[in-house]
């Protein structure tokens, strides 16, 4: 395995043992970017010089005999909707095409305290609205396993970079599946932690009550290590939970004996790709063989989750994105006759179609006369969805289902049909509504060699059990050691 293909924990050990330098590693990844970025297009901004300087600084530290932390000197990437001080943060939108935040997101500050090498900012669906990264205002990102396919989204850039060898690790954000689904499509590991587990301060809001930052990595071990770094209460985020943060690496044990797995029957029905279903069921069999108990469960309100999500998320987005008006930052259309025209033209010109669609839906749902019928009802159904899980978790420890109903589809295949695109979120959206943690781990391929992801859902704040199940399964297979073949190989 080439340097740029190894997981972070292996590279960390190599750095500690002085088998490699951070500079060699960083150069290896930067070279990989030079080679394959043209095909993958995972990045919006590559901070090459800064990355090299960071690598050299870490090497000096190691040479000086200092101890290094887990991510120190290891190159990774950050989704471009997470604010980075002094580095452009565009949210893949034209309206923020020149926006340079004067502050770091809390997760970035926490990462920076570890002195990682930050390679740049990754592509996404504009303001994280989408599931294919085709809604980026700049360019689409391609799936490293088949560049004719989408990488999923909205954290498609982050997932594609980790899969393509152009970043060892990455941060994504997940509002309705935006970490897990691209992880599934790109054959990597992606976790959405419990809502409130990780600070949202500095994450450009799409839907505040659903958004959560999480890691995208090459294996479960890296996922646990990065979660250790970014989790915890933040005084700057009132919704971050004041709960003790365990050492998540302690959960990396191969043991599922007596663990109760629930298979929700509602997730294995209409529209589910047969190969995906077979792969996930085989993975569950494997866990069963290792000592877990499996039971079919029911989450009866699953059917309403998508409609609920597509009212709540756009409603929050409609207000969250109201600030992009051309007044004090971001782009502005010049020459307008008056204020309203300036704001209207600015938003019309600089916001993308999908963003505008969701703003329209959201404002409609919040309008006088419609609020009770749409938004308020959605909030009530949201509670029902959550209660489904509460009930299920009285009997089971984790719930397993496919991360997405299909493998990665072709670019352009669904872009003209928003409704069909929305249905792709059926397995991931309910967790965001319920605030629960979920992880996607690779569990095989379809006959065209496209990765399939298994989603493991846990109780609130029980990321440890998710990691244990994911790790146990991962170690029984070798999918995490597979790499997408790119660059003519």
């Amino acid at each position: 395995m080439k340097l740029f293909e190894k997981p972070a924990h292996v590279l960390h050990d190599m750095l500690v043992n002085k088998e490699i330098t951070s500079l060699e590693l960083t150069e290896s990844v930067l070279t990989r970017i030079d080679e394959v970025e043209g095909e993958v297009q995972a990045y919006l901004t590559v901070t090459r010089e800064e990355a090299l300087a960071q690598a050299k600084a870490v090497d000096e530290k190691i040479a000086g005999g200092e101890a290094i932390s887990f991510l120190e000197g290891i190159p990774g990437a950050i989704k471009d909707n997470i604010c980075t001080k002094g580095i452009k943060t565009t949210c893949a939108s034209r309206i923020l095409q020149k926006f340079v935040p004067p502050y770091d997101a809390t997760v970035v500050s926490k990462l920076n305290a570890q002195q990682p090498v930050v390679l740049g900012k990754t592509n996404l669906d504009e303001f994280a609205m989408g599931g294919s990264t085709e809604n980026s205002a700049y360019h689409a990102t391609h799936n490293p396993w088949n560049t004719a396919c989408v990488p999923g989204g909205s954290s498609g850039g982050s997932a594609a970079a980790v899969a393509a060898g152009t970043a060892v690790w990455a941060l994504g954000s997940d509002t309705g599946g935006s970490i897990r689904q691209p992880a599934s499509f790109c054959g990597v590991v992606g976790m959405k932690p419990t809502y409130g587990r990780v600070s949202r301060y500095g994450l450009v809001a799409y839907a505040s009550s659903l958004d959560q930052i999480g890691p995208i990595t090459r294996d479960v071990t890296d996922c646990a290590n990065i979660l250790n770094i970014i989790a915890g209460r933040d005084e700057m985020d009132s919704t971050s939970l004041d709960q003790p943060v365990p050492d998540f690496t302690k959960a990396l044990v191969q043991d599922v004996k007596g663990l109760k797995i629930g298979l929700p029957k509602e997730y294995f029905v209409k529209g589910m790709d047969a190969e995906v279903e077979a792969a996930v069921k085989a993975a569950v069999k494997q866990l069963e063989a290792m000592g877990a108990e499996v039971a079919e469960i029911s989450l009866p309100n699953t059917d309403y989750a998508i409609s609920t999500y597509y009212l709540i998320a756009p409603a929050e987005a409609a207000t969250n994105l109201a600030r992009y008006d051309g007044v004090s930052y971001g782009e502005r259309v010049e020459g307008a006759a008056d204020l309203v025209e300036m704001m209207t033209k600015t938003r019309t010109q600089y916001l993308g179609e999908e963003v505008k669609r969701r703003i329209m839906i959201g404002n409609y749902a919040l309008s006088a006369g419609y609020y009770d019928a749409y938004y308020l009802k959605a909030l009530k159904v949201r509670r029902l969805v959550k209660e489904d899980y509460d009930r299920a978790f009285r009997d089971v420890d984790v719930i397993i289902c496919p991360t997405a109903p299909s493998v990665a589809y072709k670019l352009g295949e669904k872009i003209d049909n928003p409704l069909e695109m929305y249905l792709q979120d059926a397995c991931t959206v309910p967790l965001n509504l319920a605030g629960l943690p979920g992880i996607s781990v690779p569990c095989g391929y379809n006959r065209e060699n496209m990765p399939i992801g298994m989603q493991i859902i846990g109780r609130a704040l029980d990321e440890e059990t998710l990691l244990r199940v994911a790790y146990t399964y991962e170690q029984s297979q070798s999918y995490h050691e597979d790499r997408a073949q790119l660059g003519g190989k």
């Binding site: 502050y103 500095g202 700057m236 919704t239 600030r323 609020y371």
Partner: protein, 479 residues
């Protein structure tokens, strides 16, 4: 037809916290444009609000002082509308679950005491300020935004439409101001916009229970304007109705220079605020224990203080009401009395010469050159008979100019009252001898003539003769 006005007020009061409601920026007034700003109050992408605990504390105290029920469960909402002074294009406010509800305020009207119910009090953030190159946004080439005020904490106190005259509206607002100052949650500097009111008014035939169509006048920031704007608007509505017209539900502005209200925005153009729960802030849970703990921190409030002044010192309701209308004035009074001064004299001096001088120089009572201790000492000199009330006015003016004690002033200026019978008698005899005409008139039955003789004695004694003794001696000698 005879109409009755129905008036309700929404009072916005800026809370006197050091920092803004959702970030650590300073709230101080008058700083250079856009110097009290940070990513949070500028609404930059990705920022989140964190509630300033003092704002909650002050809002709860205001609720308790205005006799409200404090809700154990309360939350913030987003009030959505586009305006450049609002960086996020929503105002974080409270919609259906405000922190305080169901309170009341009692006012003393010319027709007696009246209770005005307080519907609710909620917390919200202030907006920024537009700085136009011209007079209005319409005739300006450019407009800049000053975000210093963005995120300054406000409470909005909403009354029931319980007032029926402009006077009642003013009295209600004055009372609310007084209470907020008593509990020290707002500076209530109206000229800085710390305290401003939206006035809602409608008319209905006297005796009718049905409410008429109302109009609203926003951001009225003086008591005078409250009365004038309402008076004008009531008259205007009356004329419209008398002419058989209909009142249009609309927002009107008060033009104080022309003394008229002008149509600004009709209901058809009113905002749909598309309120939604603020997902970036957690609900506010306040326990009964916490509420009671806040209640214990409240000072004696104006009504209770007034009642105490009436019962303890026998002050008239009017005097006690004036003295307790401001906490500082009431504390000054208490300090004067605590020094041993007679309470009624203290009240007279505070409402008389002290207030006159303070008003003339625009000084607050807490900054008075004559502090409570010296005024108390001076009043004690009157009570002891060392100086007359008349001389006291002179002593007071001297004290206003110098830091000397009243005793020293009286001594240095030789102002001690003459109580020596012989000394007064000598002057009296001289005056009787010098004014035969007045003496004759008096003896002829025109008893009033004694006044001019007393005046002469006082004048010749340079005001120092004890007036009572002068009277007695004169009467004795003339009768």
């Amino acid at each position: 037809m005879s109409y009755e006005a129905v008036i309700g007020l929404e009072i916005h009061s800026e809370l006197k916290t050091n920092t803004k409601i959702f970030c650590g920026c300073a709230t101080s007034f008058g700083a250079e444009h856009n110097t009290h700003v940070c990513p949070v109050c500028l609404g930059l992408p990705g920022v989140l609000p964190v509630l300033n605990k003092r704002v909650l504390e002050f809002a709860i105290k205001a609720g308790l002082a205005l006799n409200c029920k404090i809700n154990n469960f309360s939350k913030f909402d987003r009030k959505n509308y586009y305006y450049p002074d609002l960086p996020k294009n929503w105002q974080t406010s409270q919609y259906d679950l405000p922190i305080c509800e169901h309170g009341y305020v009692d006012i003393e009207t010319s027709k007696g005491r009246k209770r005005i119910r307080v519907t609710r009090i909620h917390m919200e953030e202030d907006a920024g300020k537009l700085v136009h190159s011209g007079n209005t946004i319409k005739d300006s080439d450019t407009s800049n935004v000053d975000y210093n005020r963005t995120g300054v904490p406000l409470i909005e106190i909403v009354s029931e439409p319980d007032m029926s005259t402009p006077e009642e509206a003013r009295l209600y607002m004055e009372k609310v101001k007084s209470i907020l100052q008593y509990i020290d949650v707002s500076n209530c500097r109206m000229e800085e916009g710390n305290l401003r009111a939206d006035l809602n008014v409608s008319l209905r035939p006297r005796g009718s229970e049905v409410l008429g169509t109302r109009t609203e006048m926003k951001n009225i920031n003086s008591f005078k304007a409250v009365e004038e704007a309402l008076s004008y608007e009531i008259e205007r509505q009356e004329e419209v109705l008398e002419d058989g017209g209909h009142i249009i539900q609309e927002t009107r502005t008060w033009d104080p220079d022309r003394g008229v209200t002008l149509s600004m925005r009709s209901k058809e153009n009113a905002h749909d605020y598309r309120y939604m729960p603020e997902p970036d802030l957690v609900p506010i849970i306040t326990s009964d224990e916490e509420i009671e703990a806040f209640r214990k921190t409240l000072p004696e409030l104006p009504d209770a203080r007034q009642a105490r002044l009436e019962s303890e010192y026998g002050l008239s309701s009017y005097d006690a009401g004036i003295i307790t209308s401001s906490r500082q004035m009431a504390e000054y009074f208490d300090a004067v009395v605590a020094g041993g001064a007679d309470a009624k004299l203290a009240a007279n001096w505070i409402m008389g010469d002290l207030s006159k001088n303070l008003n003339a120089e625009g000084i607050a009572v807490e900054a008075s050159p004559v502090d409570a201790k010296r005024l108390g000492e001076m009043i004690a000199l009157i009570s002891k008979g060392t100086i007359s009330s008349k001389i006291a006015k002179q002593v007071f003016e001297e004290m206003w100019q110098s830091p000397d004690s009243p005793e020293k002033i009286v001594k240095d200026k030789g102002l001690v009252q003459i109580t020596d019978t012989k000394a007064i008698e000598a002057i009296v005899d001289k005056v009787i001898a010098d004014n035969p005409k007045a003496v004759e008139e008096y003896r002829g039955g025109k008893k009033k003539a004694i006044g001019s003789l007393v005046g002469q004695v006082m004048k010749q004694s340079k005001g120092k003769a004890n007036p009572q003794m002068v009277n007695e001696l004169l009467t004795k000698k003339l009768d």
